[in-house]
Symmetry: C2
Subunit: 322 residues, 2 copies
Amino acid sequence: MNAKASATGCQIVDCTIRDGGLVNNWDFSVEFVQDLYSSLNEAGVEYMEIGYKNSPKLLKGADSAGPWRFLDDDFLRKVIPQKLDTKLSALVDIGRVDENDILPREESLLDLIRVACYIQDVDKALALVELFHERGYETTLNIMALSNVMEHQLLEAFKEIAKSKVDTVYIVDSYGSLTPADFSLLIDKFRKYLPKKRLGVHTHNNMQLAFANTLIAVDKGVELLDASVYGMGRAAGNCPTELLLANLKNPKYNVRPALDMIDKHMIPLREKEEWGYIIPYMVTGMLDEHPRSAMALRSTADKDKSVDFYDKLTTPEVAHGN
Amino acid sequence: MNAKASATGCQIVDCTIRDGGLVNNWDFSVEFVQDLYSSLNEAGVEYMEIGYKNSPKLLKGADSAGPWRFLDDDFLRKVIPQKLDTKLSALVDIGRVDENDILPREESLLDLIRVACYIQDVDKALALVELFHERGYETTLNIMALSNVMEHQLLEAFKEIAKSKVDTVYIVDSYGSLTPADFSLLIDKFRKYLPKKRLGVHTHNNMQLAFANTLIAVDKGVELLDASVYGMGRAAGNCPTELLLANLKNPKYNVRPALDMIDKHMIPLREKEEWGYIIPYMVTGMLDEHPRSAMALRSTADKDKSVDFYDKLTTPEVAHGN
């Protein structure tokens, strides 16, 4: 017999639409999103991140994207005419959100607004968080690319965060470069400096560690766990929601509706779109850098020439100008 | 920056041909095997398991299999005319090996013979191990399906093993059902009862934990780590060799030759043959059972009907006769 991970107090935030939209330019049908919502609700998943709430006015090339990139409250009411137990979340990026677009919570279907930023923009992110907090939302601050942050930057950010009204602070492994040992140390550090905040983790699967890193978070009582059905997310994707449902010890979790979603929607979608453990993404993960170069490679005829790609990224004068 | 795992004293046993042969009926060309051998050698991998050394006389349906299923010493000399630093290994199964086929080590290219068995056959396996040990080989005892073993069976086996001449004892997660926490406990237990033996781990990737489970073994100083290039192995496959090479802290390891092998051979092979994170294998992993039912499903038109498959395995009167 194997042992399930005790998960009292952990909640799942499914990011299939939001992070998966980075794969297919948010080209999900309304039926897909409705099926996902009812599947996640039936599976016992606590939150569904249904997209970004950035403003199309503040982003170039926005016209071609599906509606989940710029969530509109009226549209959302048509998609989800009946709220179920699963709460709804949206992500915003610093400098890309128009705060006038964010209704007071009682007028919106959204429950949670998450603000993503790099370490140097924590001040700006916290200002947004305070605003959304005042409008009644649950809030999280998602600090991206933590593997590229120096200690003194992090300690400085902790001081600001500790004073703020943000509910939950996320450790985001944007490049999929962190191991369970790295996560363990980071979680301990966040707990030490932010003892009054709840924590969250957002993992990427470049080195097949997204689920294992999330299990470490479960073990340490991290409150919010990001995941995506069938792991759908940018590049190597995220921690698979179905693995959390199958392995976390919580009587309300049920993997079956997630399998149903996979059979009906994710398997056909994966035939058309690509994400997961793919060698160029493994290479950017091991080198602890953004997957954008690997994503560019995968759209060319050389997509499987991983040695050439590796050589390019590891030749100092080419990769970094030395 | 991410942190590499300190790996002093760990050695890699690449099982691509042996375990991967379970995927393609050992249909690897001589060129493939030669390229793999030189790649592994250049990458710094310590052992290559080049196949099974079972006897075709003792196995049904043996005619159709490639030569790596029944290694012949003369044939092996043609494939590997020049031994390099990477040692060669073969696996045998209880009841399927003819001991007359095993030459004295000085007449063979093989360095290591591993004996696989279930817990109830540890006595038989140890008798074989003693024989191979006397003929000069390094030896391992690979106890399969440990997730299905009761404590008293295991303690009984430990007594026999402690008295034997076997060099290394393997913890084998045959069903890919174990988590890092499970592996951690098992390794501690093996160390406690077998303090004079070296340990090894063989993982399967049904729940995307093969690499993470191997990292736990590295952390605990386990001496032999099984892996396969691009994870090729039965059903969900094994811990990917390239991930160990990229992440273990040992100056002699080099991931580049493994990437080369992937570009040249594994990507085209994966187009024809199937292994890896595939939902029915995840289901047998989470249910802690042999993947044979999932392998059977994958060869039918219903291969992606994972909900039906899950229902069948979890309906008590159907699955277990109650």
